[in-house]
């Protein structure tokens, strides 16, 4: 069976779903952030696959922009987590219920 676009799209869907599960079932904020990175990686696979399929470099260009956004998000998010831990002594998502969420 030859490799088609669908192979890569399904792989990226699996990784995306796993990342989404991680965000939903974990209570450690850092691991939730890691799962978010997994989802972004799944999107990157999609972009690369379509870039190959359409024979166009644009998809690969966008991967680098997604990576830049991921890096910015990781930096700001982890700074927020550090600030949160300093004030609350916890990064457990279940204990952070001051807004009754």
């Amino acid at each position: 069976m030859e490799l088609t676009l669908a192979h890569y799209l399904i792989l990226s869907a699996v990784i995306f779903a796993l990342g989404m599960t991680g965000v939903l079932i974990r209570k450690n904020l850092i691991v939730m952030f890691m799962s978010l990175e997994l989802m972004l990686n799944a999107v990157n696979i999609n972009l690369a696959a379509f870039s190959n399929y359409l024979q166009d470099m644009t998809g690969q260009i966008f991967i680098v922009f997604v990576m830049a956004v991921a890096a910015a998000e990781a930096a700001v998010g982890l700074a927020l987590i550090i600030s949160l831990f300093r004030n609350k002594q916890t990064i457990n998502a279940e204990e952070l219920n001051i807004m009754r969420g």
Binding site: L18, I25, L38, Q60, A74, I82, T90, I91
Partner: protein, 167 residues
Amino acid sequence: MMAQVAFYILAVLAVVSALGVITRENPVHSALWMLLTFFSVAGIFVQLGAEFVAAIQVLVYAGAILVLYLFVVMLLNPRAGGFIRMPAKYIIGSAVSIVVFFQIAITVWSSGIFKNGTIGPLPYAEGMNNVRAYGNVLFTKYLVPFEIASLLLLVAMIGAIVIARKD
């Protein structure tokens, strides 16, 4: 044949290590599993003819972002590593993502374009390669977004310093 074998090995590695990320209790173990995911995804990029992006994936994700995560994990040393306590939420969370997966999968499989879309090496003109073609597009057509991305990173850097600073 080689391409299929490589793809399936990389795909299994990526999925297993992604499972490792979301199932390990210790955040450090999660981070190390994520390293394997990043390398597998870099392999997938190589297979898709995106060598430059694969190199950037290893340098930026595995080299910079992952180290940042490990730093924060070891700085905070959090004990709350586990899963949410309520099994009902656990089941709902997994069910929601399974539904999302099947939505995407059905969309892909019901579309003939995706199913018959071929994956192969990109054709380059004489004397061109992936990095050169990439640079040609990035620094001409996408120059302004590139500069804006640098601005975004500057803002993120300043923001991270301001937020995490002790006052």
